[in-house]
């Protein structure tokens, strides 16, 4: 049996319900793991050990009373972009370094009600802007597979914690790939639900037409369990969809015979590292062997424009969302003299890091007089074209499969001076957000770089609100592969 901290939710739940282990033992094992490895991984900004142990004691009572659900007593990690009542929520920014939320995010409420045990808040790129966790104002997170490398971002802390045994599952947010890309680089499952599927109430806003919340887990089965708990309409988020939520575990049939899958040409470019290409092609072969019908002839011609569309729309929305950080209501504020405007400029000069400033300025530029039509409106029109191409594809295919990233994890510091090269990490994940689709990354092989084994991800996309198909394909793939069972040696 693996160490307690490396169990899947399903395995841990089995032990809890048979009373072979208590939630307090499980939680202590995870907290001890954090103590022993997090000085190297740096996945957590805040660890809430005392509250976690109290919650675990309550969960054990619930289990004893026969009132337990699938997540009761399971330790999890909260990305520090989600509000946690009474627990510091920083967005890994100086701006919110001492911010204590007066309420819980919807997803946090849901998981509390399910009896899951929050053990801490994970490090991230500041305000979820970045692909490496190096934009954290506090410290970078390290990839558990090679501590000299990045875990990906922006939910890098959640991905690294899940990979390193510092939680059993985690939540993150995904605006352009911030769940799927770090999941791929850390060798865990990451699910970005359809836009509208999970309430964003209590998620610190980055780009409101793109942001979604989703789980990091060690198996697709676990992703279905967490997704069941967080999906569904919430009146406090008017963009949450008024749709019934099926039990997603019923999608885990293991059978994908006859499913029609497509690989778009535009995702097999020269930018794709040869090892990543080989791993991807091997994954496609596995799906074919399982009975899926794979077509390599799909073309999504607007794909090369996705990067530009994203880096206009996301910063434009961010520039409006982040206008709220004015040093008056909450957050960092320089208390020296000066006029109101001087004070506001100082608040934002010293409260925000460079990447956040870059994006606010790009967005402000794109929305400013004289540029709106050429940039922002044009990007929204091309967004329509990207969505239409996906809609047409999903008339013919049940799902699209692609690599998650062009390469495995890169070295810390390798791309920090070159924003464009950093942005290019997300070329394969951005279109899903632009089109509002669900997307999932599952562990899909390894690359050998400098003698180290580094994980790669297989991305699956489906039509809006068809997460069941993602989970069905991912689960069948995991019945035929063992990538997801490998753990980094620490």
């Amino acid at each position: 049996m693996p160490e307690l901290y490396n169990l899947t939710i399903a395995e841990a739940q089995g032990l809890l319900s048979k009373r072979e282990v208590t939630s307090q033992e499980l939680t202590r094992a995870v907290l001890k793991r954090i103590e022993s490895v997090d000085n190297r991984v740096r996945a957590y900004v805040t660890v809430t050990a005392e509250a976690a142990l109290a919650d675990a004691a309550a969960a054990d009572q619930r289990i004893a009373a026969g009132d337990a659900g699938p997540l009761t007593g399971i330790p999890w990690c909260v990305k520090d972009v989600l509000m946690t009542k009474g627990v510091r929520t920083t967005c890994s920014s100086r701006m919110l370094e001492n911010f204590i939320p007066p309420y819980d995010a919807h997803v946090v409420e849901r998981l509390k009600a399910a009896g899951a045990i929050a053990v801490g808040k994970s490090n991230m790129d500041e305000f979820a802007m970045g692909s490496s966790n190096e934009n954290s104002a506090f410290f970078p997170t390290h990839n558990p597979w090679d501590l000299d490398r990045v875990p990906g971002g922006s939910s890098g802390g959640s991905a690294a914690a899940t990979a390193a045994g510092e939680c059993i599952f985690a939540l993150g947010s995904d605006t352009g790939g911030s769940i799927r890309q770090p999941a791929a680089l850390c060798g865990v499952v990451g699910l970005k639900p359809t836009y509208g599927r999970v309430s964003r109430y209590g998620l610190v806003a980055f780009a409101s037409s793109l942001d979604q919340i989703g789980p990091f887990t060690r198996s697709v089965e676990d992703a279905a369990l967490v997704f069941n708990a967080i999906a569904g309409q919430d009146k406090r988020d008017s963009t949450s969809a008024p749709l019934d939520v099926p039990d997603f575990t019923t999608a885990l049939t293991g059978d994908i015979r006859g499913l029609r899958l497509a690989v778009p040409k535009e995702y097999l470019t020269d930018d794709l590292d040869p090892q990543a290409r080989d791993a991807f092609m091997a994954s496609v072969k596995v799906l074919e062997d399982l009975g899926a019908i794979v077509d390599f002839d799909l073309s999504l011609p607007s794909t090369p424009a996705a990067l530009a569309v994203y880096y206009l729309i996301a910063p434009s929305e961010a520039s409006a969302n982040l206008a709220r950080y004015d040093g008056v209501k909450y957050g960092f504020s320089p208390r020296e003299g000066g006029t109101m405007w001087e004070n506001m400029e100082q608040t934002r000069q010293f409260g925000f890091g460079d990447e956040v400033k870059r994006r606010i300025m790009i967005g402000t530029y794109a929305l400013s007089a004289g540029y709106y039509d050429a940039y922002y409106l044009k990007a929204q029109q091309v967004r329509t074209l990207i969505r239409r191409e996906f809609d047409a594809a999903f008339d013919k295919y049940d799902a699209i499969v692609t690599p998650v990233t062009p390469t495995a994890a890169f070295k810390i510091g390798e791309k920090t001076d070159d924003p464009i090269s950093m942005y290019l990490n997300d070329v394969f994940t951005l279109p899903v957000n632009i089109a509002g689709l669900p997307g999932m990354s599952v562990p899909g092989g390894f690359a050998t770089v400098d003698g180290k084994q580094l994980p790669l991800g297989l991305q699956i996309m489906a039509k809006p609100f068809d997460e069941a198909t993602l989970l069905r394909i991912g689960h069948a793939y995991q019945q035929a592969t063992d990538w997801h069972t490998r753990r980094p040696q620490m």
């Binding site: 007066p102 006029t339 000069q349 300025m361 940039y375 044009k378 029109q381 969505r387």
Partner: protein, 96 residues
Amino acid sequence: MALTREEVLHVARLARVGVTDADVEKFQQQLSTIIETFDVLRQIDTTDVPPTTHTLPLENVMGDDEPTDSLLPAEVLLNAPQQQEGYLRVRAVLEE
């Protein structure tokens, strides 16, 4: 399209982000490189293509007009940098 120094200063002012001379130089170069990548959009024909602001077809979402619990003043002010007598304290907006 390269941004001028004046354009960077203008955008920084619109965004209310204070910048040093070194910042202006750095952002001028970086923002110009980013904006150049947007040129790819010009080659795409978008005649008669409506813009997408939102991928979910929801309109006029209404809530019931019922009183619900809200945060207490003390909770709202919990994180205020400066407060006075139950209010947020702000700097003078009007000058003499």
